[in-house]
Structure formats: C-alpha cells, structure tokens
Amino acid sequence: MDAHYPPELIVDLQAKAKEFRREILKMITTAGSGHPGGSLSVIDILTALYFHVLRHDPKNPAWPDRDRLFLSKGHASAAIYVCLAYAGYFPKEWLASFRKLGSPLQGHTHLPLAGIEMEGGSLGQGLSVANGSALAARLDGKNHRIFCVMGDGEIDEGAVWEASMAAAHFKLDSVTAILDANTAQQTGYTKDVMNSEPKADKWKAFGWTVYEIDGHNFEQLLWALEPERVVTGKPTFIVARTMKGKGVSFMEGVIDFHGKALTQEELKRALEELA
C-alpha cells in the first residue's frame, strides 16, 4: 500500500492513543470491572476513526449527515467512551463514573449517550443494525459512511454472516466493517476456541472488498479507511490484525485481561509503561 501521511499527523494520533490507553485502564480499575484487553486492542482503530476519518460533529451528535460508527463489540465501551470524551461529546469528568449506578457510561454502550449509535453487549448484532442504517441512508439519498467495528470472537455468531451476506446482496458500499482481530476471546485464543481463519478469504467470498492490515499501524489504518478503498457496489471489510492488551507488556496476548480490571498495583505498572 502506498501511504503518505504527514508525520505530525501520525505522531499526534499515536500520542492520543497512548493517552487513551492510560485513561481506559484508569477508568476500568476505578470501576473495578470491565474489559481492558479488548479495549486496548481496538483503541488505535477508534482513534483513527474519531480523530481523522469520521465526518462528525461532537457538538451535534444527531447531525443527520454524520458518518455513523457502530461499536458492535460493545464490551470495548471504555475505549469508545474515552474517544467520545476527548472528541468533546461529553465531559471527561464522566469517565470516572464508568459502570456506576446512574452513570450515562453504562458497562456496555447504552443509548442515548451522545455519540453512541447502538446498544452494545450482545455480540453479532451491530452489522445488521449498520446495514439497516445504510439502507435508510440510501432511501434518503444520503452519502455519509457507516462503520461497524467487530471482534474476532464476535464473528463466531451466525448472525454476523447473515448480515455479511446481506450487505453484499444489497450492495451496501457505504458500509465499512473493521475487525479487531486480536486473536483472543474470553476463554482462549480464537484459533483454539473456534477457528475463523482464513478470515480475509471468507469475507471476500461473501462479496466484500477486503483489506488486511496491522491494526496498530496508523498509516495502514488511515490508508484502509480512505473512501478511495471502497469499490462501488461492494461493502468494505478491514481485517485489522491487533493484539489483546496492546501497549502494556504484561497484558499483551493475555487471555485473562479480557474481562478483568487491573489491580491498583498492576495499574501503577501499566501507567509507568505508558508514560
């Protein structure tokens, strides 16, 4: 791929993502529960989307012509909340209330929080909802983009494949799905629990234009997310190869951090690494 982005842009996005990793881990430890591993694997993808790719207006979350982002892997709520807060959708002070009674930052993404497009927490539903949103956009003559972020455990769900077939069948070229392929799910590595390789081949066979990238490389992320990558009449699928717990040495590739908060001691060590 031929990617030429200003170095300052890349450095800026990397710095943001690093800060966001700190915030994600802090808020999950404060809450005492959450999904840090899968939040760290997806945060570069979300940073690229919210801080470069998406046409959106944080002060006008209901702007009809905005690009939509459906976080189908809704347990990465900490990651999307940090992006939304830093983008200006709601105050950063809210992040400390994550998962607390009465907080708008529910354990899994919940409407009508500004910037959130779907109820998260049950895997395999986001792509269908995204397709419906795309069908409506077509009826209304709109040409905003629709993004859907999924996990590689999530694609075990049959409903994902229903939606995959439908997106191609209905020629939803406004839809771009990104797979946070961090190789792990709750009880083990995806290759051991339910092998879904070859992922790119499958999505190509289902009629999508497919790109396979390093999901922690911003140049590759920005390149794959460019509108130029879309082939008319076909939805776009990006297999973003990532690592669960990316950014913290003792978390990388560790299954246990799927759904377990860092202890205060672990948080301290993680923040030192992310300084």
């Binding site: 539903q125 269908s128 909802v129 995204a130 419906g132 409506a136 439908a166």
Partner: protein, 313 residues
C-alpha cells in the same frame, strides 16, 4: 354466517394502504412475504421493501437500523421463526426503544398440517416479557387493520400476533380500537370470558351455549395483552366473580398468565385458563386441532361451568 377473513390478508392490505399514505413506512420480511402478505407492499414499493432471506435475527436488527434513522419499520415472519430473533429484538428494538412493529403470522395451532414446529404457542409469553413492548392479538380482520394503523401511529416497539387461517369477523367496521383498551363484546353476570384472537369468536359461541344452560356469560376482547386493560378486567371480575381466559396459545405465560397476575394482585377471583396445555401441537386440519387441543366453543363453555363450581358466594 359471519364473514371469514384471514388476519394476515387484512394485514397485507392495511400495510399497503399505510405505505401509500406514509413514505416513512418500510417493510422487512424473511423469505415468507407471499405467506405473511407483506408482498402486497413489496410489489408496489419495492425500494422500501427488504427481503433478507431466511435470517430472522438479521431481519429484526436491520429493522432496528432503519427505525433508528426515522423509518417506521414493519418486520414480518411466522411467529415461530421470528422468535429465533427474540434476543436481537430484546437488544436492538426493546432496549433501544426503536419504532419497529414486529408482526407475525401463522401463530397458534390453526397453522394446521405443517405440524408442531410451525405451531407457535409460546410467543405471547416471550414477547410480553420485554420491557417497552406493546403486545396486540387482534380478534379478526377488522381489528387487525385498526391495530396495524394504531401500531404505526404509536412511537415504540410493538408485537402483533396474527394467524394463518380464515377466521370469523366479529367486530364492526366502525369499531373504535384503542391500544390498551379491552372491548366488551357481550355483557353477562355469572362469568366473564377474557379472550384474544380467534378465541374471541369461540367465546361468543360459548356464551350462546351457556345461555341455553341458563348461564349468563360476558365476553371481553382483550386484544392488547400488554399493557393489559386491568381496569376493565377487575371491573368484570367484580361484576361476575368468575373468570375464564381463552387464547390460541399455551396456558403458560400468555393472556391467561397476564390476567392471573393482575387478578391475583387486585381482586383474587376463581379463574380457569383455556389454551394449549403446555404441550406441542401436531399435523392435522385446523378444526381437528382445535378439537383435540381444547380450543373450541364447547371447551370454553366447559371451562366456564368448571370455574362456576369454584365461585365463592
């Protein structure tokens, strides 16, 4: 002889007419549109009609996506198959509080020869358990048309349950249907039969049989199972002192369940449930099955006589 019209035919026509009136109506189906009759809409408005193939989870969540963007989305399939997508509906329609109308056809045992797999007797139970979900079981073609319109006018999730077979028309064209308001079909003093769907017609026949035996039975059409018209229910429980519920559904969790819940809390009253008795159906003609599974007017009348024996002074 009353006119016999299938509620799904009334649905197909009502949906088409709604589609002509309102460009925001969209319809989704899962490869059954020639049975559910959404095809009428689909033929006239092909760009607003989405057949997703045999994929009910995708059907419901896609409907949610369309409703999210301001459409009024009708999603149809058979009652049994739609239930496969219940959890998708739980999340993307009920929890998200989307303007989706889930309209199923082929509910209950009168599906007939297709047999047990197709005879859904559990759907009222599971759909009424969802918060934000309005549940309507129209008695006939007239009520179906009005319920479909009322559902489209209501902001939020609705589940409407229709059948396969032709059923008697029991309501007048000018009837003022309101979501959440029961209709007194027949007054009576000894027992009140609370019915929905096809069983409204059967309960009216039962009331005639009971009259011959000197028993005065009221018949209440409780078309909206959720929210239940508790006021009317309690009023007639008080007037008569004995209740029968009648539905083309399991005696567990449907109209009978809803009525029992409200009566027990408000005015405990002897009650008898007419319905499928916690079992699966089988192949047969609709009439054979109604007979075998205890849903005929004779069965309703027997239930009324039974509950009268438990009536306290």
């Amino acid at each position: 002889m009353p006119e016999m019209i299938a509620t799904r035919d009334a649905y197909g026509k009502a949906l088409l007419q709604l589609g002509r009136e309102n460009p925001n109506i969209v319809v989704l189906d899962a490869d059954l549109s020639n049975s559910t009759k959404t095809e009428l809409f689909g033929k006239e408005f092909p760009n607003r009609f989405f057949n997703v193939g045999i994929a009910e989870q995708n059907l419901l969540a896609t409907a949610s996506g369309l409703a999210k963007e301001g459409k009024i989305a009708f999603a149809s399939s058979f009652a049994c198959f739609m239930s496969r997508g219940w959890e998708h509906a739980r999340m993307t329609i009920a929890l998200a509080n989307r303007n989706v109308k889930v309209v199923t056809t082929h509910s209950g045992i009168t599906v007939g020869e297709d047999g047990a797999s197709a005879q859904m007797n559990e759907d009222i139970a599971i759909w009424r358990a969802l918060p934000n979900m309005t549940v309507i079981v129209p008695a006939d073609a007239v009520e179906t048309e009005k319920a479909v319109r009322a559902a489209a006018a209501l902001e939020g999730p609705v589940y409407i349950r229709l059948g396969r077979a032709k059923v008697p028309v029991v309501l007048d064209a000018g009837y003022d249907f309101q979501i959440g308001r029961a209709k007194v079909m027949r007054e009576g003093t000894d027992v009140a039969i609370i019915a929905c769907g096809l069983m409204v017609a059967h309960s009216l026949e039962a009331a005639k049989l009971l009259e011959e035996r000197g028993i005065s039975a009221a018949v209440i059409n409780m078309a909206t199972v959720k929210p239940l018209d508790v006021e009317t229910l309690v009023q007639w429980a008080e007037k008569t002192g004995a209740i029968v519920t009648a539905e083309e559904h399991s005696i567990i969790g449907g109209l009978g369940g809803a009525v029992a819940e409200s009566l027990a809390e408000n005015l405990p009253t002897p009650m008898e449930r007419v319905g499928v008795e916690d079992c699966f159906g089988e192949s047969g003609t609709p009439d054979e099955l109604l007979q075998k599974y205890g849903l005929t007017p004779v069965h309703v009348a027997e239930a009324a006589e039974e509950v009268l024996t438990r009536k306290t002074a």
